[in-house]
């Protein structure tokens, strides 16, 4: 696979630094809130952009689930991160990530959009011929954000109209509003996965004595979870699934979710800015000199840093020589 071209990282980063933050990048410290499952290539490219292109002296690389947990003020949380492409569940117990109990599946906004599109086409009541063309990706997203919700009741929503452009109004049956998000809960797709099942599987992999505290501190983050009714439905389904007592499912327990001081899509960002306000960048950040010397940003997936040998030697063995060519 070819290395990602730095322009992809520089152009948006330029926009952030000089149009929104209005800072000279060189004299700032940076906190990068990253997913632990981020592709190494992208991570390294971004590191090169920060250290070489912007000449930033100190960057703190912070895993997004830890940033999210820090917002709660507590050190335990079962992070359910609902993204666009996929959903990730990562348990953090007393500040320690239980990485082998994490799970990730393609159940994100993209999945909803796909389901929404077919459901809209099926339920369009004034169907003009070119329904498929009118329902562009942006329009589907708009409908998902504005109209969709996760149903908790057997009732049905009323039929609704949606303006596609100045000339076209599409009318849909109310069921389209609530049917789309069901893909996250019904586990009848190919993988047989659903968000509640992912949470339960993750809990089942955790050490026994951590399960109950984790179940009591579910932390739902990510923009996709902002569909109205999501958290309530998740907790309800979890309780029901546990009550059924499948063999790999834990004892019935109480499931509780955190009420956060900000909207779900900003949680990880808020966590990052909390870290950024402290000395953490100085203590934990990796400096430009370090990057110049070793050419890598240490990562958990790199055995040079994350192995017994690396631990004993006390220093990292650089695996790659630094390359300034971006």
């Amino acid at each position: 696979m070819p290395k990602p071209w730095i322009g992809f990282a520089i152009d948006p980063a330029d926009k952030i630094m000089l149009l929104h933050l209005l800072v000279t990048p060189k004299d700032r410290k940076v906190v990068v809130v990253e997913s632990v499952f981020c592709q190494t290539d992208w991570r390294e490219t971004f590191a090169r952009v920060l250290y070489f292109h912007y000449e930033i002296l100190n960057v703190l690389w912070l895993p997004s689930h830890l940033a999210a947990v820090s917002v709660t003020g507590w050190d335990t949380g079962l992070v359910v991160d609902m993204g666009y492409e996929d959903a990730t569940v990562i348990p953090v117990y007393k500040g320690v990530t239980i990485l082998n109990a994490s799970s990730s599946h393609a159940l994100g906004a993209k999945t909803i959009d796909k389901a929404l599109k077919s459901s809209l086409q099926k339920n369009c009541t004034n169907a003009p011929e070119n329904v498929e063309e009118l329902l562009t990706e942006e329009k589907i997203e708009d409908i998902r954000v504005r109209a969709c919700f996760v149903s908790n009741k057997p009732e049905r929503a009323k039929a609704f109209r949606f303006e596609i452009n100045g000339d076209h109004f599409l009318e849909f049956d109310g069921v389209a509003r609530e049917a789309a998000a069901e893909v996250l809960f019904q586990n009848d797709d190919l993988d047989g996965e659903s968000i509640p099942r992912m949470v339960l599987e993750s809990l089942a992999k955790c050490p026994l004595d951590t399960r109950k505290p984790l179940a009591r501190s579910i932390l739902v983050i990510g923009g996709t979870s902002m569909i109205p009714g999501f958290t309530k439905r998740l907790l309800k389904d979890l309780t029901e699934l546990t009550a059924e007592k499948n063999e790999d499912v834990m004892e019935p327990t109480e499931y509780r979710a955190f009420n956060l001081p900000t909207k779900e899509n900003c949680v990880a960002w808020l966590g990052g800015s909390i870290y950024g306000a402290t000395e953490a960048t100085n203590i934990r950040g990796f400096t430009k000199e370090y990057f110049l010397k070793t050419g890598v940003v240490p990562d958990w997936s790199n055995l040079a840093h994350n192995s017994f040998k690396g631990f004993l030697s006390g220093t990292s063995t650089p695996t790659a020589s630094p390359s300034k060519s971006l």
Binding site: W61, G73, K153, N259, Y275, E279
Partner: protein, 553 residues
């Protein structure tokens, strides 16, 4: 916006570009599209066509990126081309794009980069204007009488949103005050931040003591992927380990499924109106609250803009420095390449497309933008990409990483007019060594499939003369040109015939691209200022890629 527009389009001999600058600064939501219309009209004059075909002639920057001349800078100290990627961008001053008021950076930071007095429509992001209405209200001196009273509210001329939609009461003064929505969770976030500050300070203190190894306070350290790099072997410090980690003052509350509110009945009972629900971009405009109902949208302060200055990464000198005043669109320093490097344009299209193995004659139009005469020689493409000597170089040691002193030695001021080739090579290579370490190397890929049959003679161009631009009958200087090389000449411009051969091996599908190096005289006036000597003349090379499949019109 104005600054940017001017920088990109302010090409020396194009008077109509001023429209662009003026129109974008007008507070008109359609400013930009109007400008384009103006430019299109001008385009008929054919002289402006190069603006729309920026990528016909591309200059090769020393880092290897290919850019049209209006996107390239020229460092007068390094005497090298620099593209936006090989200069560092710095924030010079903050200002509001609407009221053009300057804001010191400390204040801007405190105000969260927002203008004090200008507001933005939360619905469509246009600038809000203040509108006045008159109401009949009881007069102050005589409560029984009704007197007209002026009230003000904010309104968006674009989408018709008004502050009344947000439930904001009309103000008695035109300057507000308008209510500032507060983040309801600000208190909580402060507490959490304070808590983490204490933890971080404790960790820092623990780290300062030599024998303590474990950094146990911040969660990021404990699992976070970073702790896996022990700097020292663990050594217990009973004092520090014995101390309990302080408990947080605030912990977010949790709720179970029963405690969470049911979806409001509106979802089922009332009819869905999409205009009453906010869109994603409207929500992102108000990150603190992210309201889902349109009625909860509040006017937001306008985001500030910055004037930026650019600095050469190699010699750390300014390449661009705008004037401080936000109203001014001028620059104190503006080292765009089109003020220093001969400008090359493809003057006429090829009458028939060039075929592999065939020869064709192209006409280039050269312009000398400097105040000194220059003599241009055409050479085959001779660009050497910046490359490390070893593809897998040894680990860069501390001493090799660039400190400011390193960059200051051997500044390329050592170009001399009569330098022998050895000296020239030496300075050029030391220059390149420096660039290798400082510049991000891009080396964009390109394919040259046309070669030049370089003429032996040089083309002499007189200096640029502002007045000749407006004088149609000015005497054209006589240079005894060979008509078969220079068919046309006016003031500092000349047209040149060049013979081009397309490679036999080239595939017919590939667009024909001509690689070309021009060598020209450049008079270095900076050196004269610094060394108190006369201006020094140097021969510089610039490398160009010309796409031959495009017509200039």
């Amino acid at each position: 916006m104005t600054g940017v527009a001017c920088r990109f389009y302010n090409i020396p001999d194009s008077g109509s570009i001023i429209h662009l600058a003026n129109l974008t600064s007008a507070r008109n939501p359609f400013g930009i599209s109007l400008c384009l219309v103006f430019l299109k009209v001008d385009c008929d004059r054919r002289t402006m066509a190069h603006l729309f075909q920026l990528d016909t002639v591309r200059y090769v920057c020393c880092c290897g990126s290919l850019k049209p001349i209006c996107f390239v800078y020229f460092c007068r100290h390094c005497l090298r081309l620099r593209c936006p990627y090989c200069v560092s961008h710095e924030v010079d001053s903050h200002y509001c794009g609407n009221c053009s008021e300057n804001m010191p950076s400390a204040e801007a930071k405190q105000k969260k980069n927002r203008c004090n007095s200008c507001y933005e429509c939360p619905s469509c992001k246009q600038t809000l204007s203040v509108r006045a209405t008159t109401v009949q209200a009881p007069a102050e001196d005589d409560p029984d009488k009704l007197a007209p009273k002026k009230l003000y509210y904010l309104t968006c001329g674009f989408c018709r949103w008004t502050s009344r939609d947000a439930g904001i009461e009309d103000s008695t003064s035109s300057s507000g005050p308008w209510p500032e929505p507060e983040n309801p969770q600000a208190q909580y976030i402060c507490e959490i931040t304070d808590y983490f500050r204490t933890l971080a300070t404790r960790e820092k203190n623990a780290k300062e003591k030599k024998y303590v190894h474990k950094n146990k306070f911040l969660a990021a350290g404990r699992h976070g992927l970073a702790h896996l790099l022990p700097k020292r072997f663990p050594a217990a410090n009973p004092e520090e380990i014995g101390k309990a980690i302080p408990l947080p003052n605030f912990v977010a509350s949790t709720s179970s499924a029963e405690e969470l509110d049911d979806l409001p009945s509106e979802f089922y009972e009332t009819e869905f109106v999409s205009a009453k629900v906010t869109s994603l971009s409207q929500r992102f405009g108000q990150v603190e609250t992210e309201p889902s109902e349109s009625a909860a949208l509040m006017p937001t302060h306008k985001q500030l803009l910055v004037k930026r200055s650019l600095r050469c990464r190699v010699c750390e000198r300014n390449i661009h420095k705008p004037e401080y005043s936000p109203v001014s669109i001028k620059f104190k320093i503006q080292l765009n390449a089109y003020y220093h490097v001969p400008q090359v344009r493809l003057m006429a299209p090829l009458p028939t497309p060039i075929k592999p193995g065939n020869q064709a004659r192209i006409i280039l139009r050269l312009a000398n933008p400097t105040q000194f005469p220059t003599s241009i020689k055409f050479l085959p493409f001779a660009w050497v990409p910046l490359k490390k000597i070893d593809e897998h170089p040894p680990v860069i040691t501390e001493s090799m990483s660039l400190s400011p002193e390193d960059t200051k030695v051997n500044l390329p001021g050592t170009h001399t007019s009569e330098s022998s080739t050895d000296v020239k090579d030496a300075t050029a290579s030391s220059q390149m060594m420096k660039e290798i370490h400082v510049l991000p190397i891009r080396n964009e890929s390109f394919k040259i499939n046309c070669r030049l049959d370089p003429p032996d003679e040089e083309v002499v161009l007189p200096p640029r003369d502002e007045t000749s631009e407006f004088d149609d009958f000015a005497d054209t200087p006589d240079f005894n040109d060979d008509i078969s090389l220079v068919p046309w000449r006016k003031a500092n411009k000349a047209a040149v015939f060049l013979d081009v051969i397309m490679d036999k091996e080239a595939s017919e599908d590939d667009p024909p691209v001509l690689g070309l190096t021009i060598e020209y005289d450049y008079v270095n006036t900076i050196l004269a200022l610094e060394n108190k000597q006369g201006p020094q003349k140097v021969r510089l090379q610039t490398h160009l890629l010309i796409s031959l499949d495009r017509s200039p019109q």
